[in-house]
Symmetry: C2
Subunit: 276 residues, 2 copies
């Protein structure tokens, strides 16, 4: 996996881990309620990170056996601790790079990828590689966010500029913070068939305090806050505009605020029929 | 109803009517599948326009009796024709201004408002007026779009600029093309309780050709196309940028394009309990 480790790209550091776990808890239902793998099936989780999704996945499909890989040994150690704490017995962790895998072709019934493609400079190539690991009739599940989908009240030019800094930094690191909207053409282009994408919007107003706290504040606003130093160092924005942007994002978590963000989830077939 | 009649604000002209009908067909399920009024209940549809929603509403609640009002006599005539063609017997049409209604207090069990608040300079006042028409225990349903929610692939600066012209023109006409995201605080502020808002995203990729045709092309892109003259006349954008924006929006309806747009639907209680 080609996650490029930069201090300003989310996903690294222990405060970041706590943030990702918050997000995982608040979003598990929205993102994973329709994912369950049959008993006996072999599932590859490519890019498991600190295991934020692994526990949910493995608990929801107790009869499936998971192989969860990540390029980061530190992340895997944390993922292993989480799996142990949850009493999981159906997950094996392995340190591996998506672009240099040694699994044989057709090793898995399902491949699961969540919040990974956004970090890759060659997401189509990664999907090609993963596709070859699928048995005929196998399926791929991909979940990615899209920072351009952030919509909020009160609207704020400064907040939109601050978010744009994150998009730009992720782009400079080789990634794509707007990849969610692109999943359908991306999967089709490399031969997945059929492909079905559904948007999963997090909608948080003050009638949903758990989402306001867990997502608007502790996930999205915290992530944008976290790139302040890098955005200023890169000369992408003035500090007063950035700070106003954060203030305005915090305001969207207030009693009369609203925050929306859309994840995209794709189910894709390997393009080859079982027995074909 | 305070719809301000300008050539550049959508909703007027016969080509516009056809466009709105296209939209209504493609979106009826997404927007209205969870709206049904009990037999015997009295429902006010405030701002029915050309009846694009009226037929769907009245057919889904055959036992309810609807009073559908609009400020435009021409629109009502068209709405009446649609209702007759559909064989509806449970709808009465009346020409009326939301800000000058002569219904007595507590005249209705439900009020339904769809694509109306976006045109009003005083949406909170309109909601106050409509709230007084509700019986104790009565409910309000509001559906509005939000042009700031438009998200597409390939992304395009020019397309975003062209959309921004529509937002600006609607603002200058006294309206708010971003009102969808604001429904929760707006309804709470004037005393509706409880209020529950759910986003309804139109997601159109090439696996959904009906939505691509009916929504991406014939609804959204057609609407933006329709403001070309007004946007240029107002000096909001250069013609080459606008035309590139339209070209790029058309491109999102192509084989590898994706277009997303979010409507927001609110269910709100009158704040007074039946028998209270």
């Amino acid at each position: 996996m080609e996650v490029i480790e930069k201090t300003y790209v989310h996903g690294y550091g222990s405060r970041e881990n706590a943030r990702l776990q918050d997000q995982a808890d608040a979003l598990a239902e929205l993102l994973h309620s329709d994912t369950a793998f049959p008993a006996g099936s072999r599932v590859l989780e490519a890019g498991c990170g600190t295991g934020a999704q692994t526990v949910t996945l493995a608990q929801r499909s107790p009869g499936a056996s998971f192989t969860s890989i990540d390029i980061s040994g530190d992340f895997l150690a944390e993922a292993g601790r989480k799996a142990k704490a949850a009493g999981l017995r159906n997950v094996q962790f392995r340190q591996a790079d998506i672009f240099q895998l040694d699994f044989g072709p057709e090793s898995f019934d399902h491949v699961f990828v969540c919040f990974v493609l956004e970090h890759l400079s060659r997401p189509a190539e990664a999907l090609c590689i993963l596709k070859r690991l699928l048995k005929p009739g196998g399926t791929m599940t991909v979940i990615e966010g899209d920072h351009g989908s952030a919509t909020f009240h009160p609207d704020s030019f400064a907040a939109r500029r601050a978010i744009q800094c994150q998009v730009e930094l992720q782009k400079r690191a080789g990634g794509n913070a707007l990849i969610g909207r692109e999943l359908y053409p991306l999967l089709k282009r490399v031969g997945f068939d059929p492909v079905s994408v559904s948007p999963r919007m997090v909608y948080a107003d003050s009638s949903r305090p758990r989402l306001v706290e867990g997502f608007t504040k502790n996930t999205f606003t915290a992530m944008i806050k976290g790139i302040r130093g890098a955005a200023l160092a890169a000369g992408l924005i003035d500090d007063d505009v950035f700070d106003k942007g954060i203030e305005d994002l915090v305001r969207t978590a207030g009693p009369d605020g609203v925050f929306c963000y859309t994840f995209f989830k794709a189910f894709a077939g390997s393009g080859r029929i079982r027995g074909g």
